[in-house]
């Protein structure tokens, strides 16, 4: 977080600075410039996915798969322990003449619990890392922002970024070819 809080002329706290671009190529190359200027809290908004944008933005790979792997395997292990304790220790019940604690009989449920908790972790982790759900977003106050679902491409640099400075950030976006550069209020 930047220590500085910027305000607009009307006294409102600044959330971010936005710039518009007309083509995917323009916004792609502008994103490379913003990436190289060392910004971290910023995003690109486009009407459709642009292949390779994650490289242009310097987005790191998510650690979500690792989280899913660890949680999934742990829960599979716990599921196995649960069955072993229930059938072998707490309430031994003779079934089909098999021994009380048989690993074979526990495999399907161990497997299913591993899958179930992997799926839970995937969906909850995805929401968590995306900071969702969010019921409100300052960008939605901008009428021009609606065009990113139609025919415009937008870069939005948050005022919370350590590198954010109204003049220098504006200069960067202008240099990158951005149009209609504007401040967004919280």
């Amino acid at each position: 977080m930047s220590s500085k809080v910027y305000t607009t002329e009307s006294g409102e706290v600044v959330y971010a600075m936005v710039a518009e671009f007309e083509t995917p190529a323009d916004v792609y190359h502008a994103a490379e410039k913003v990436r190289d200027a060392g910004y971290s809290r910023w995003d690109v908004h486009t009407p459709f996915p642009i292949h390779g944008m994650e490289d242009a933005m310097g987005v790191k790979r998510t650690i979500l798969p690792m989280v899913i792997g660890v949680v999934g395997l742990s829960c599979a292990g716990l599921g196995f322990l649960m069955q072993w304790w229930m059938s072998g220790v707490d309430y031994p019940l003779m079934t089909q003449g098999k021994p009380f604690a048989t690993w074979q009989a526990f495999v399907p449920i161990t497997f299913e619990l591993g899958i179930l908790f992997s799926a839970f972790t995937a969906i909850i982790g995805m929401l968590f890392f995306n900071r969702l759900p969010q019921w409100y977003h300052p960008l939605l106050k901008k009428d021009r922002f609606l065009r990113v679902s139609d025919d415009r491409f937008m870069i939005c640099i948050e005022a919370g970024d350590a590198n954010f400075d109204p003049d220098r950030t504006r200069a960067l976006l202008e240099g990158a070819g951005g149009k209609h550069i504007d401040l967004v209020e919280e």
């Binding site: 792609y28 490379e32 642009i50 292949h51 390779g52 242009a56 792997g69 074979q104 009989a105 495999v107």
Partner: protein
Amino acid sequence: MSQISAGGHSHGVGADHPALRSSNISMAPGAGTGLKSAFIGLGVLGLAVAAIGWFKDPTHALASFHVGVITAITICLGATFFILIFNLVNAGWVSTFKRQYENVMSLLPVVSLLMIPVFVLDYFDGHALFNWMSASAHGDVLLEKKAGFLNPMFFYARSAFYILLWAYITSTLRRLSLEQDRTGDKWLTAKARRTSAWAILVMALSTAFAGFDWLMSIDFKFFSTMWGVYFFAGSAYVGTATMILILALLRRAGKMEGAVTSEHFHDLGKLLFSFTVFWAYIAFSQYFLIWYSNIPEETAFFHMREHGAWPMVGVAVIVSHFALPFVIMLFRGIKRNPTTIAFFAVWSIAAHVIDMFWVVRPVVHVGNAADPVGWGLIWIDAGAVLGVLGLLGWLIVGKVTSGPLVGVNDPRLGEALEHRNYV
């Protein structure tokens, strides 16, 4: 990456692409002769060792040879299956290396002919392998009940039918692809798709029944309706592994640069990984149902493999065929690096050999309580398996070096050249 990808649908990228320059996608005359001689040397040497083994213990040598033959057949069956699937789903990302799948596929009828020496040796060994044809099994009530299906005449006729059928399907698909090289007619791709539509049904059934006849019938009392799937799962697994190995070797030889990249290895690695899991799922399901239902004819199969050192082999199968590759191949980097994924390709072929060894070989020394594995004669297994795989390797290198490495007129080449994993 400083350019924006145009997406994967730019058809018509043809011979003008830098990755498709002729030096990159064709082997120099005489290339691969070293590897070829090494393979044929291995083949002759291994089979010579197996022949010596025949005089030491014919049944053991026959079973070892059968392990090798089945491994070779499953490799080619796997390649055939993938060609059918790729044709059916209009797969674009494979078109730069589909020709290599076709090379292995076209060897299916050739290596299937190795079943003839198996049958001949089995005959001269008093049907020690296909025991149900021997005099000792005669009159067994479980055999009598199955005799309508499991009788020598029908058995040999079926085997011949599979091989002829496979020869027809594989040669038709191969011919269409080679014709496209010459004429450039893009509609041959659609024709191959139409052929694949009926062929995949026929292949599924004939693969399952070949598994029943050539592997399951070794123990005629045993039956498992999942056997066909088990046989297929191993085939798809080892077929993918062989493909990764061929492509990694070609890349090592400085070929296919830009045509087969980390992106393709990544997806082939995913297939290898998925068939590791699929095989384990099927193998366990088969075991699990037999374990639960506890029917003597079925449990005898696993009971036989729980004596002497056989459990050790069984654990080796589980660890090498599933547990270890599952954990390691989960990681993205392993699949994207041609060297590490090629290592797992070789590993997978070895794991599949151990699996087939575990399926076929227990019948040989079944009466020997002291050493039911027959460790003293394990050199016969090594010789026979490496011998057959050496022959297959020799055939594959011959096919690979016989023409262009890429089907140069494939209409989907553009898609494969731009193939990327965006995750």
